[in-house]
Subunit: 349 residues, 2 copies
């Protein structure tokens, strides 16, 4: 650690309670019938680390120090994928769900306030669902510092609240829940915000090539798929589709904050694309520019003969959505917009 | 990073193929019927970090540097839990599955060679299954270095092979698969070893108190449960049962490498305990001592009026099991030993 001075002060030792546990509403739904379920890792490569000194490590407090030799071969760059295959199946292809920056596949699971999330929604619609953790996050693990070549970044509790249009922007966070500034009609379950914060994981800024490679590996393993991405993963979805246009039969971009390679847009001309944006974008400091970048990229795809449908939710009467629209109180309604579009693409029956 | 000299050499850019994908054998089984499924995080506390300099960060290669202020409040010490509730339910309590060191909840999922793992086995038996990632691992995320107070440890590819009785011990690993030394009758799917290595994640040695606290939080949230632990989590299972004896209705210790607080064993007198050990322990350099430590701890529990059943699998004719017995080729048979014991404890009907 380079930083020498710090103070870590315990503000609250009390865990925030999750809003509900196993969600009462979910229990009243029909059972989910699975043909199979499981997980695997794709990608990864072997690197050899040499020339490191042996360290003394105490594995448990009070234990006997043991010598640890860090030199040797390591597996790095692999990606975790968990799958659920329903029966009967109605999706024509597997539905791959790729989360955004600072997060993991948990994005798609139970919402912070305890409702069924997107992964269960689409599973109930008959889609085989594949939820992954990007390389270096969650159950994908991360590599030794010699491979990562940087320290990870950590998000403060305030950061997503102010940056993801949950609060009103910079300065909207406050330790006192009563003083947090939220726009009228905000659909994010702000009372369960601390449950969302627990989903946040560290990220590196040096791993885009490894992440890209693993997503292409996933497409090569699973075969033709429908890909749904969020935020940072906009770039991974578009770049993977540019690399494997035959294997992405439809691409859903939920508030994409990253984009593909503009030199490769012609590869996307046969990939149906849907982009979905939430509310409050005009009032935000950053999102008008982020959305405009996406619009410009879509124009390039269209100029190359491709097709991009854009839905700004407020324009179809769905108001109040944050950047985390799969967690918002109207998440089922947002999922329905995507599901209806997929049905029109004839990849669901 | 303190280490200045290193060499990271790409040995192989080719991903090792998973042995199977969605396992053919699994697809022939009966569908799994779920009442509900989802995930949540338990535990966690808020810490405040102050006095750190602002850093310049380039988020994407070639991008514009942005100033990042690391000072502020962080959520740390939370734990991820994923649950599957079957219908009909036959387990009288939720079955909580706690993995070992350097690993995550993936331990319990699909085996490295693509068969259904313990979590699906017990789900099919009608147990509500709760699989967690210990604090600082997997989808639980990890905290800034000021909280962790140490660098993480990384396992080489060779390490688990030689230490988990997959190979014959120290020196049994070889880059050439044909030269790896495996004992006759070894049940670990050694051809899929690289898939197992991809499950390995970094671990810290400073986090036992945080992990313990989160497991107790989990029991407080879920209520009376059956707890199944592996390896390092032996200590977490026993210490959680000592803290909440009324909430652990049965405890299964699979090759426990860590133990509880010997001063608290009297708390365990009404907790039925099963310990299971695999094969090749006598031939190993470390495992005779690790098992003897467990035996000594069990004697203390018995002296305090408690009950511990010990199964050494070779003594009941089940041979060839490694430390990762939930991944071995006969994993269903090992699960059956546990399931039969649970049925005898009258916590399954």
């Amino acid at each position: 650690m380079r930083v020498k001075s710090f103070a870590a002060v315990l503000v609250s030792g009390l865990a925030m309670a999750a809003a509900t546990f196993p969600a009462g509403s979910a229990e009243k739904k029909m059972p989910i019938s699975l043909q199979t379920m499981g997980s695997f890792h794709v990608g990864g490569k072997i690197v050899e680390i040499t020339g490191q000194p042996t360290r003394e490590v105490v594995f448990s407090p009070g234990g006997v120090p043991a010598k640890v030799d860090p030199n040797g071969q390591y597996m790095v760059g692999q990606m975790y994928v968990q799958y659920f295959v329903p029966t009967p199946k109605r999706g024509s292809y597997p539905l791959l769900m790729w989360h955004g920056g600072g997060l993991t596949g948990v994005t798609w699971e139970t919402t912070p306030d305890g409702r069924e999330g997107f992964s269960t929604y689409f599973l109930r619609k008959g889609w085989p669902v594949y939820v992954s953790d990007a390389v270096e996050r969650g159950r994908s693990g991360f590599a030794p510092p010699q491979v990562m070549q940087a320290d990870p970044l950590f998000l403060t509790i305030a950061n997503p609240f102010e940056r993801f249009r949950i609060g009103e922007g910079a300065g909207s966070w406050n330790d006192d829940p009563a003083k947090r500034k939220v726009r009228p009609g905000d659909q994010f379950p702000v009372d369960a915000y601390m449950q969302f914060v627990k989903q946040v994981v560290p990220r590196w800024t040096t791993t885009d090539p490894m992440i890209n490679a693993a997503y292409v590996d996933l497409l090569d393993k699973v075969g033709p798929s429908v890909v749904m991405v969020h935020s940072q993963a906009g770039q991974f979805g578009l770049m993977a589709a540019e690399s494997r246009p035959d294997k992405v039969r439809a691409l859903i971009l939920l508030e994409p904050a990253g984009l593909g390679d503009p030199e490769q847009v012609a590869k996307l001309k046969n990939v149906p694309i849907l982009a979905v944006f939430g509310d409050y974008i005009e009032q935000d400091a950053r999102w008008p520019k982020i959305r405009q970048n996406a619009y410009d990229f879509f124009d390039k795809i269209r100029a190359a003969g491709g097709k991009v449908d854009v839905v700004n939710l407020p324009q179809i009467g769905i108001r109040g959505n944050s950047h985390m629209l799969m967690m918002d109180k109207n998440s089922d309604q947002v999922a329905g917009v995507v599901q209806d579009w997929l049905a029109k693409q004839k990849v669901w029956k």
